[in-house]
């Protein structure tokens, strides 16, 4: 049943790519203006080894930051759920930090850890990922019906038991919601953090370098690689979600 829903977007995609190729050919549009899909593909296959190698480094930065930010986010969320007085301080602070351009801290982390050190990029990613994970998980841990809590108390459940059997299962949907946001964010964050300086053999630098030389097909090929990595990670999250929460219908339609 799900496969049927894939056809229209797939067809649309093929049509779009075909149109794009056709328009570029028909109007002889120069590569710097609008690269043709075929040019991008050529660049992709030719530079494949390089782009994937760079991609792996960027991916490492993204994953490192993702893990760090997620772990920290969950821990703080758990603390906030346990000691409600922390909530009053943590939530408005999180909301405020969300309004700030965290990527601006990239040059600072470059200086603190050394710009060639991947940790400098991981730090930026961790900071970006921390807040959605913390806010969503905290919400999930707290949004429990009073009646469910009373039920646990009536059964003389220990606080740890309540955590394990009630709060964590309730929080899982919120956690995965946050992860679906955090995963693409981590990749974007890594790439953007790289723009502020660092080793040349990473995707972000590759993209800007090729763009500076107006070699846009190369830049787009690199973006294609990052898109593939992003989609793969996202699908992984979906798989883990399905495994851990088989009872939860978490498909989202545009109607919400």
């Amino acid at each position: 049943m799900r496969v049927e829903r894939l056809w229209p977007p797939l067809v649309a995609f093929v049509v779009m790519v075909g149109l794009w190729e056709g328009i570029v050919a028909l109007f002889s549009i120069e590569a710097f203006l609008l690269p043709a899909p075929s040019a991008i593909w050529t660049s992709f296959t030719q530079n494949s080894a390089t782009i994937w190698a760079y991609g792996m480094r960027t991916l490492t930065e993204a994953l490192g930051g993702l893990v760090g930010g997620t772990v920290l986010g969950v821990l703080v969320a758990a603390a906030v759920a346990r000691w409600t007085t922390l909530r009053l301080g943590a939530m408005p602070f999180a909301a405020a930090v969300n309004a700030m351009p965290i990527v601006a801290t990239a040059p600072i982390f470059n200086q603190l850890f050394g710009s060639t050190n991947p940790v400098s990029k991981m730090a930026v990613v961790a900071l970006m990922v921390f807040f959605p994970v913390m806010a969503n998980t905290a919400r999930g841990l707290n949004e429990i019906d009073d009646s469910e809590l009373e039920l646990m108390r009536a059964m003389a459940a220990s606080p740890f038991s309540v955590l394990r059997r009630l709060r964590i299962p309730s929080a899982l949907p919120y956690f995965f919601s946050a992860m679906k946001v955090a995963v693409p964010l981590s990749l974007i964050g890594a790439i953007v953090a790289e723009y502020f300086g660092g080793p040349q053999n990473v995707l972000g630098q590759y993209i800007t370098n090729r763009a500076q030389l107006f070699q846009f097909p190369d830049a787009w090929a690199a973006i294609l690689v990052s898109a593939i990595m992003g989609i793969t990670l996202y699908l992984l999250v979906l798989v883990v979600e399905r495994v851990l929460m088989p009872w939860h219908v978490s498909t989202r339609t545009s109607d919400g």
């Binding site: 602070f93 405020a96 600072i108 200086q111 850890f113 974007i188 790439i191 502020f196 990052s226």
Partner: protein
């Protein structure tokens, strides 16, 4: 508000505490030989008060105080972001209204709208700017376009959600009054949608500032926060406080922008409705 201040003070204490520890042990973790990373010395981690002090000192010899330079840079960046944000919000809202009034339009165009977001425009912002420059599009306009792109999608999606949010009986009520669909749009659907739209606007406002800063990174921008960050990054070894000051101003810039949107929200919506669409 108070709680916010407490967290801030706590963070300052951690910062200064870390530096104190470093000063006491000579830069290694106590009872070990492991070097403390990041280095707690004044060369990489200036004292908080030094950063604040640097704001009021001249940026260049005999020049204006740093805070003024940074404020001007911030305003430059915010202006680009604002233009894009406003255009994007208007476009997004219009798309949302269009989709709700025409199911055919929604069915056929929504996939494209969603697909547009698979392109991580913040990540390619510098590329867009360079591309634009090649096409003789001025840098600030390219950045504004980036901000508009970041804004229109969340606003469109949330407009659709919000316009469809009134309960069925409310729509029946308006039918019973033989209200025109225009009346229903402006007197029922749009007011119901406002909480959702503001949620999207706050997110987009923050994203627009990020997009603007990142878009300013390629060479050729004389003004703006992006340039300031790169510039002070270069003189870090001579004067680290300046970079921290620039980051601080960036943070304040983002806060001001989102804060302004939040203020408009508070003035337009009674408190009860703001929690409705979290």
């Amino acid at each position: 508000m108070l709680a916010f201040g407490i967290v801030l003070v706590a963070l300052v204490l951690i910062w200064e505490g870390y530096k104190l520890l470093g000063a006491a042990t000579g830069g290694t973790w106590p009872f070990t030989d492991i070097e403390m990373r990041p280095r707690p010395g004044n060369n990489s981690m200036p004292h908080v008060w030094d950063v604040v002090a640097s704001l009021f000192a001249p940026a260049r010899r005999g020049g204006e105080p740093l805070i003024l330079t940074l404020a001007i840079a911030t305003l430059y960046t915010l202006r680009e972001a604002l233009v894009g944000f406003l255009v994007g919000a208007l476009v997004g809202f219009s798309i949302g209204v269009f989709f709700v009034r025409s199911l055919a339009a929604e069915r056929s165009l929504m996939p494209w709208v969603v697909a547009s977001q698979t392109i991580p425009i913040i990540a390619i912002a510098p590329m867009v700017v360079i591309w634009g420059r090649r096409l003789d599009v001025p840098g600030w306009l390219a950045v504004a376009i980036i901000a508009a792109y970041l804004t229109f999608f969340p606003v469109a999606i949330n407009t659709v959600r919000g316009l469809r949010s009134p309960e069925a009986t409310a729509t029946e009520l308006f039918h019973s009054y033989a209200a025109s669909s225009w009346q229903r749009l402006w007197k029922l659907q749009v007011p119901s949608a406002l909480p959702y739209i503001f949620t999207a606007l706050k997110i987009s406002a923050a994203a627009s500032v990020v997009g603007a800063i990142v878009g300013e990174l390629p060479a050729g921008f004389a003004d703006g926060l992006g340039r300031a960050l790169l510039q002070f990054n270069q003189v870090f070894s001579a004067d680290p406080a300046k970079l921290y000051a620039a980051v601080l101003m960036s943070a304040i810039g983002g806060l001001v922008f989102v804060g302004a949107v939040t203020l408009v929200e508070h003035l337009s919506l009674p408190a009860r409705m703001r929690e409705a669409a979290a």
